[in-house]
């Protein structure tokens, strides 16, 4: 079936696609914009947090990994495809549906630092972005305003930011215990910026600290693009088609003609478009572009996740780790900027996160059965503080996304992820773990435990269609235009040339807004 042509066809309704669609529709109401999404809307009235057996949903149909969800035997609400991650030290995590991974994210909302955009010039590693923090700053501000951020202005780890829309999410006893540790050492700490309502805001409720943010937010306090950008984009006239799996961007003589997809009842549809924008995340985007025959030496390569490890402190005092938004308490950027005496370049982000629910804590023990496991759980549950150590993962071409010879149930070629933790990342994580344990002891922990690598943290799927100026080393230009196909764009985290050491959501949104403005000025 061939449809009437549109001006813009967007593939993927996650953070990048949503922010891009809203901004472009706001700037250019004359354009006909369609977004095609493989999944559907999440039904907030049916989320697991409303059921007594919500904990097991975390391990099954709402597991963070699409592979685990597919294996669970329960029907996930996410429109998943399997990913061969057997040769990846980190397991790719994502949510496929309207809102993308913002449905299941922790909504930790830090920005990159100015230095993150200049790693090659400053430190001789990675690559410079084709624009600066200052260029992106107005879009960070706009993205903050649209998503709704709780936090506290005045953090000296960043250039000044506008007042946050809401006060910080409650630190809880756990956050205050960690603050005590950072303070005793004289280190930087600050309440996190969170895209979560700490009070009623923008027609959405305040968070009531139920805990399991990663299985969807039943109250809507957590910002996700199905609640923020999409309603406004639809009001502006953007058409969102759900349950539609794009098979190919059709390309002829170096120009994208449109997209071919299977609609929700299995019909093959061709949607002609003047411009095609792919926003399927750092795995879905290269998968589709490779399947469409896009040629670029950098396509699928330089996959970056962020190195991730945990230190956990056990305290005699009773804490409240298992409740409240999981990604929220405080963070430290004491060690964020390069100090070559540490033996590695760039830095680490120390994030005090909340603890897992009881069943999840029990299930993740090395040996989750027997007397020892139950004794350990008794010591740990409500008595621990976890510190996530993230480092700046650097681009390496052997870390990559490729197609397999198999054809998936969704009609696309299968996809494989190869990723190995580098020596650089190992040194940075070990340094960060040492500092995290030091802080925990200063806060009063009687025992600390290291999880040297946290494989199930691979939310940050970045770098596989990187921006740049040289077609030999980048896939797109600074405006997200694919070098080899001028009317084909990317608008998601795939574009990041480097990734800093912090969560990318805030930057993905800001970048998509900037790209939409670039296009709005350019398109006829």
């Amino acid at each position: 079936m061939r449809l009437d042509p549109v001006d813009i066809a967007i593939v993927g309704a996650g953070f990048g696609g949503a922010a891009f669609a809203w901004r472009l529709s706001q700037q250019r109401p004359d354009l006909r914009i369609v977004c095609v999404e493989r999944g559907g809307y999440s039904d907030r009235s049916a989320l697991p947090a409303l059921r007594p057996d919500w904990q097991r949903a975390v391990l099954n149909e709402w597991a963070t990994s699409p592979n685990l969800r597919l294996k669970s035997g329960r029907k996930p609400a996410s429109a998943d495809y399997p990913i061969d991650d057997t040769q990846s030290d980190f397991k790719p995590l994502m949510w496929n549906g309207v809102g993308g991974s913002t449905i299941a994210w922790a909504a930790h909302f830090p920005r990159l630092h100015p230095s993150d955009f200049r790693t090659r010039s400053l430190d001789g590693v990675g690559d410079d972005w084709p624009f600066s923090y200052a260029d992106l700053e107005p879009y960070y501000d706009l993205n903050d305003a649209e998503c709704g951020v709780s936090g506290l202005a005045g953090d000296p780890a960043y250039p000044p930011k506008p007042d946050r829309a809401m006060p910080p999410v409650a630190l809880g006893r756990m956050g205050m215990a960690a603050a005590r540790g950072f303070d005793a050492l004289g280190w930087h700490w600050w309440p996190v910026d969170a895209a979560i309502n700490s009070r009623s805001h923008a027609g959405r409720a305040a968070c009531n600290h139920c805990g399991p943010c990663l299985i969807g937010c039943a109250t809507g306090a957590k910002s996700s693009t199905d609640l923020t950008y999409w309603p406004k984009a639809l009001e502006n006239g953007v058409e969102l088609r759900t349950g539609c799996v794009v098979q190919q961007v059709e390309i002829e003589a170096g120009r994208a003609r449109g997209i071919r997809y299977w609609d929700e009842i299995g019909r093959e549809v061709f949607q002609p478009a003047q411009i095609v924008v792919v926003a399927g995340n750092g795995i879905g985007t290269p998968r589709l572009l490779l399947a469409s025959g896009v040629k670029s030496p950098a396509l699928g390569k330089n996959l970056m996740f962020h190195g991730a490890a945990y230190a956990r402190g056990l305290f005699r005092e009773e804490l409240d780790g298992p409740v409240g938004p999981v990604g929220c308490a405080i963070y430290s950027h004491e060690f964020y900027e390069t100090d070559e005496s540490r033996g590695f370049k760039r830095g680490v982000h120390l994030q005090v996160t909340r603890e897992n629910a009881l069943l999840v804590q029990a299930s993740r023990l090395d040996r989750p059965w027997g007397e020892t496991a139950q004794r350990w759980l008794r010591d740990e549950f409500r008595h621990s503080v976890a510190v996530l150590v993230c480092n700046e993962d650097l681009p390496e071409t052997h870390n990559r996304v490729t197609l397999t010879d198999e054809v998936g149930a969704d009609g696309l070629p299968g996809v494989k992820v190869e990723y190995r933790v580098s020596e650089h990342t190992r040194r940075a994580l070990d340094f960060g773990l040492d500092r995290a344990e030091e802080m925990l002891r200063a806060a009063g922990a009687h025992r600390t435990v290291r999880i040297a690598l946290a494989p199930l943290t691979g939310w940050h799927l970045l770098g596989t269609a990187r921006m740049g100026t040289d077609p030999a080393t980048s896939v797109t230009d600074a405006s997200g235009r694919v070098h080899a196909v001028g009317n084909l764009m990317v608008a998601d985290g795939s574009l990041f040339p480097t990734v800093g050491a912090v969560n990318p959501g805030s930057t993905i949104g800001a970048l998509a807004l900037k790209l939409a403005d670039d296009l709005a000025r350019r398109v006829e």
Partner: protein
């Protein structure tokens, strides 16, 4: 399969706190799995293989059920070594039932039931904690300037 055998497997995987933790009004001993309502279904095909294997290693279902707790633990450790994936699948199923059981949640000082709509109370930063931020502010700019 005999109930005594199945119950012994459950209570070896999830023995509870037989001696009990230091009792406080908020902390009750964890019950053994079978007392928390965790049951193994002998007709559940996915688990029959590993259960038969446990019985075989013990010299029969009755021998396993009659063995001391430490002997049963040794046997399960052996099964875990020899048949890791099926054994861990069995453990996973039991653990999921156990740690959602109301009596277990309450013993851990937790609340049974859904996470919503009640949520939880989480305290805001107290005045002392907020005062610590003044020290951070006084340090001045930490981010690296880029010319």
């Amino acid at each position: 399969m005999r109930n005594a055998f199945l119950e012994a497997v459950v209570d070896t995987v999830l023995p509870g706190e037989r001696g009990g933790p230091d009792a406080t009004p908020d902390v009750l001993p964890l019950p053994p799995g079978s007392h928390a309502g965790v049951v193994l279904d002998p007709n559940y095909a996915a688990q029959q293989g590993v259960l038969r294997f446990i019985a075989e290693r013990a010299g029969g279902e009755e021998a396993f059920a009659r063995a001391s707790f430490s002997k049963r633990t040794e046997l399960l450790e052996q099964v875990e070594r020899e048949s890791f994936a099926p054994f861990r699948a069995l453990v996973s199923a039991l653990v999921q039932d156990y740690y959602e059981a109301p009596s277990v949640l309450v013993a851990m000082g937790w609340r049974e039931g859904a996470a919503q709509p009640l949520g939880h109370d989480v305290p805001q930063a107290d005045a002392g904690t907020l005062r610590c931020l003044d020290k951070v502010r006084r340090r001045g700019r930490l981010w690296r300037p880029v010319s």
